[in-house]
Amino acid sequence: MVSFLRFLINGISLGSVYAVIALGYTMVYGIAKMLNFAHGDVIMVGAYISYCAMQYMGLPPIVSVLAAMVVCTALGVIIEGLAYRPLRQAASLSVLITAIGVSYFLQNVALLIWGSNPKNFNSVFSVGAIRLFGGELVITSETMLTIAANIVIMIALTLFTGRTKMGKAMRAVSEDKGAAELMGINVNRTISMTFAIGSALAAIAGVLLCSAYPTLQPTTGSMPGIKAFTAAVFGGIGSIPGAMIGGLLLGVIEILGKAYISTELGDALVFAMLIIVLLFKPAGLMGKPMREKV
């Protein structure tokens, strides 16, 4: 029972990281209608920046996180402007191939800069842990911070898209780019803004991910990236609470699957979930179905 609780808490912790990544995916997919395959690699860049800031420049953890957010935000906006914006009218096949290209580009640049040896990422948070059941069940500070960060981010994003002018513009662009443009909304700037927010979230996700799983490599972001996309689809792409629920569920399923079914097949389970969700509920748990105009 205690071990089940431990797996559950680990699952929620991992799921919270997925949820933060999924929020970035869901915003970009909801507004720009494209699968930003490189999102996972922005996470990796964020983790490296934070690592370098702490390791080589001796900056305090909070500053390193802020530095990572600034760099990733800039990176996201640059990627969008250079690689994705020219393809706004292009077929989705071309956009996806470009995004895969960007993903490989980031991974290989990271490989050239930081090498392939895994870096040992020191946790950004060093508060104590909660011990329950006579120390058998440990809830680490990373877990608590991850969950807290996840909740704060979700509330902030919901308020942002619901209350602010830019948030409303985002929703308008998501519904109909052409009509939004006619209403005087700067579509390019809105999409840039979406990438900026998504990438800043990716930086936070990177730090959270590496605090929980401290090996940092150029490929660190790709698997969690794909899984977080699964989470976003699971929850209903474009939906902010959906991304959170999807992320949590997926994290729990993965950890429990690895614990009780097979370690080797943990990833396969997650992907099987993706396939099942897409086949039977393609709009996800909280998404709305769309139909093509004939």
Partner: protein
């Protein structure tokens, strides 16, 4: 007039392949080819077949598949096991026959996998379809890591997640297959390329091929014309899987060890780079791109560190260029009236449908 043009274009493609083969054979016979390059001959054939077969799905059928290496791995393991079984159980000495049969087995098993995967995948569209092919590629790799095969006399044992099998171990879970009899040869690789071209080019220029391309260009119109879109997408997908499986078997029997890790997502992307660089829908382009990009890193060793980086940049630049109206306009003026398969296809976004 048009028939002649298409036929001529196809004949040129065959001619290029045959000439390249003759040239390579001459280089090998006259001792002008380095050993390392000679070792690349079979992989080149394998990647050419992989690229052409992926182009059938991406270019002709218009669906982005990111799990093509999965079919290759299925074919590789099926072929390696079949070859060892034929040698062990029937004492089949003839290596050529064993290789050909192993390739058939690899193709059939990959084809079955193609059907099983195609049924769910082809119900999806656009980005979702692409992501699910990626998911299946990863699932195949995970499952292969859990599979164990052994040969006891003429009996083949299989187990899932249990390494304790009687007899000689053929496939050892994540450690893959060891001491594989290296029976793959360059001439057979060349023959496989010709076979692939024959199948793919003849398919494109037939009633079925036109239905596949119509389904790509406009799904709704194709259905309104009485075309069973799913059937034809399936036809392209499974044909492609069979060819990838045959290539996989050839690949598996070219090395003494083979593990599922060799068929990672990176391999699928590598093949996609060949297809994109050769021109989506352009079969001849795929052949040239696959051959050149497999040889080049061998020739330019120093450039190896930057290889994937350059591929990534190539992917982005080719996509930006082919979608740029100015460049496209220039291109269509230079090459007027291209064959129907050679244009960048228009796939609608998954979310819209």
């Amino acid at each position: 007039m048009k028939m002649k043009k298409k036929t001529l274009s196809n004949l040129i493609t065959y001619a290029i392949v045959i000439l390249a083969f003759v040239l390579c054979q001459w280089l090998i016979a006259s001792g002008r080819m380095t050993r390392s390059l000679k070792g690349q001959m079979v992989p080149i054939c394998v990647y050419v077949v992989m690229a052409v077969s992926l182009n059938l799905v991406v270019g002709i059928s218009g669906e982005l598949s990111l799990g093509h290496a999965g079919f290759m791995s299925v074919g590789a393991f099926a072929g390696v096991i079949a070859s060892a079984w034929m040698a062990g159980a029937f004492a089949m000495e003839n290596e050529l026959l064993r290789l050909l049969l192993a390739m058939v087995v690899g193709g059939v098993v990959a084809g079955v996998a193609g059907v099983l995967i195609g049924i769910p995948v082809l119900r999806l569209r656009g980005d979702y379809l692409a992501i699910v092919t990626l998911a299946f590629g990863e699932i195949i790799r995970n499952v292969l890591n859990c599979l164990y095969f052994s040969l006891e006399g003429s009996r083949l044992h299989v187990s899932f997640n249990n390494p304790n099998l009687p007899g000689t171990i053929l496939v050892n879970g994540p450690n893959g297959a060891k001491d594989v009899a290296k029976i793959a040869t360059f001439p057979v690789g060349f023959a496989l390329i010709l076979f692939t071209l024959f199948v793919v080019l003849n398919l494109i220029n037939s009633r079925s091929g036109r239905a596949i391309m119509a389904s790509r260009d406009n799904r709704i119109a194709a259905e309104a014309m009485g075309i069973n879109v799913t059937k034809y997408k399936m036809m392209a997908f499974v044909t492609s899987a069979v060819l990838a499986g045959m290539a996989g078997a050839l690949y598996g029997l070219n090395f003494s060890t083979i593990t599922a890790a060799k068929f990672k997502f990176d391999t699928s992307i590598l093949v996609l780079v060949f297809v994109v660089l050769g021109g989506i829908g352009n079969i001849r382009g795929s052949i040239i791109a696959a051959a050149l990009l497999t040889v080049l890193p061998e020739l330019l060793r120093a450039f190896n560190d930057y290889r994937m980086l350059i591929y990534a940049i190539v992917l982005i630049l080719v996509m930006l260029a082919t979608n740029n109206p100015t460049i496209r306009g220039l291109f269509t003026r230079l090459v007027p009236q291209k064959h129907s398969g050679t244009e960048i296809v228009e796939a609608k976004g998954g979310a819209e449908e």
